[in-house]
């Protein structure tokens, strides 16, 4: 099976490298030529456009910034649909709105291309270690076909449902991680302002029902005051925006997501957008008299 990869940024580059390590014949394209260099050095072929990638591949993965980019790569001029052979499976691994994923999937279906939405969780570290969690929406047969390729990038690969279901799952992931990061920051601020050692609070709570990976990992980084990303606050802001836009479209009440999104707005607006989203702790400290 020949594999293509479009979008070679912080996430896409290590993901594509892991596909190469899996022994696949890989063709890549990125908007900037210098992004392609490390892949070409590792043995991938370069192409001049997404259409050219599609023409020589059975599966094309993409990892880009937003829905407009995915649409451009899939359906734009010299996009995947322009070059695709019959039966091509396009796997978009970017995080975009479920409604946008469904719309692009429908546009591709009209042109004979099957799309899977397959956003990931696990960040740059997960991308490098091939330890991503991959949540997939779309056709079951197409999923079985590409599963071995996804297996090169992640340990946990799950088909959730039809088109858009992967993005819905990713949005759920962002609700839970976003709200929990903010909750841990609130709890630590509350503890410290009450004169109690937040490190001891964390240690005590790890054994109980409030245990979570975020309390354990993000909590430790808060105690270390290590605000390096990780997952940047502006990216979490973007993802929470997808959640709130969907809530608006569907008429859903999401009060905690709504409040969390405002915390990320405040981080972005006060120059902390490039820090990890745990910088919420610093914001709460300032707003509590520090």
């Amino acid at each position: 099976m020949k594999v293509g990869f479009v979008g070679l940024g912080i996430m896409g580059r290590p993901m594509a490298l892991n596909i190469l390590k899996g022994g696949y014949d890989l063709t890549v394209w990125a908007r900037r030529a210098e992004s392609m260099a490390p892949l070409l050095a590792a043995g991938a072929k370069g192409a001049g456009s997404p259409a050219e990638v599609a023409a020589s591949c059975d599966v094309v993965c993409s990892m880009v910034s937003d829905a407009a980019d995915v649409e451009q790569v899939a359906l734009g001029a010299s996009g995947v649909a322009d070059g695709a052979k019959t039966g091509l499976v396009f796997v978009d691994m970017s995080t975009i709105a479920p409604a946008a994923a469904q719309k692009i999937a429908a546009g591709l279906a009209e042109r004979g291309v099957t799309m899977l939405d397959a956003p990931v969780s696990g960040g740059e570290v997960g991308a490098i270690n091939a330890g991503l969690t991959i949540m997939v929406g779309g056709d079951a047969e197409a999923f079985e076909k590409v599963r071995p390729v996804l297996g090169c990038m992640g340990k946990s690969v799950t088909l959730i449902g039809g088109p858009g279901a992967g993005q819905v799952t990713k949005a759920c992931n962002q609700i839970l991680t976003g709200v929990t990061v903010v909750a841990v920051a609130e709890a630590f601020n509350f503890a410290r302002k009450s004169g109690v050692d937040a490190a001891k609070v964390r240690e005590a709570l790890l054994g109980g029902f409030a245990y979570s990976k975020i309390l354990e990992n993000h909590g430790q980084r808060m105690l270390d005051r290590n605000f390096k990303p990780g997952f940047k606050a502006w990216m979490h802001q973007k993802d929470m925006n997808i959640v709130l836009q969907e809530a608006h479209r569907l008429g859903l009440m999401l009060p905690n997501s709504a409040a969390t999104a405002q915390v990320f707005n405040a981080l972005a607006g006060s120059g902390m957008g490039e820090e990890d989203s745990i910088a919420a702790l610093k914001l709460f400290e300032k707003l509590s008299g520090d």
């Binding site: 802001q237 925006n241 709130l244 836009q245 809530a247 608006h248 569907l250 008429g251 859903l252 009440m253 999401l254 009060p255 709504a258 409040a259 999104a261 405002q262 915390v263 707005n265 405040a266 981080l267 972005a268 607006g269 006060s270 957008g273």
Partner: protein, 292 residues
Amino acid sequence: MRVGFVGLGLMGLPMAGHLIAAGHEVAVWARRPASAAAIVEAGAALCATPAELAARSEVVISIITTSVDVEQLALGPGGLIEGFAPGGIHVDMSTIAPGTARQLAARYAERGVGWLDAPVSGGEIGAREATLAIMAGGAATVLERVRPLFACLGRTVVHVGEAGAGQVAKACNQMLMVNVIQACAEALRLAGAHGLDAGKVVEALAGGSAGSRVLDVMGGRMARRDFIAGIQARLHHKDFAILMEEARQVGAPLPVAVHTWQQLNALMGLGGGRLDTSSLLRVLESPLEKLS
């Protein structure tokens, strides 16, 4: 003045009527020509396309629903931009995204056509009585040319700033107003839960520091249990998507507004989108009950 008018809804129809009454030569275009029947009877000419309307008008005023509608009207096939002579002016009085307003202003500027975003506050009553508050974004010279038209439509005209500024002001207006509607709903929910007569509470508060126009009008509707629009909640719901997107772009936390937005989402989810926004009270009273 030769004036074009697009958008003959609850707001637009009386506004176009005022322009005719003031002696302006009004022509209209409507997506459904039937909706123009009343204004044509009142003396307006009917055009077949927006381009045709723009070609015969010095100024075209639009008041329609969404950013996409306005974009389509201006730039779509047979759109206004195809018909305007240099020096023409498009005054958009719809409530749309500031970003869309800025983009349209730039596109028109390339052709020497003027732009104003001039959204209004005051609702259907304000439109009927020509007492609207108009908040304008765009070049001052353009505003001066259309001031005589605004004088037929509203009582106050404030030049807020460059293109898009009118829409930002309108977003602030909507946020302030609906946040206060939600606050009124919460106050009357608390009063109602204690068995108080909501009408008495509104009357008592109106005289004090919590008195406001929203309390008078929307609190009054809540007290009378008069939830028929009025202002359809779905329109305020639309406005919140715009203003929260603006807040996201500039990184401004809006902790109260974002919760008001969720209450509006709940109102939509309960099927109350076509009811008056005073129905936010009913989301608090009976969150388990469908409203339609």
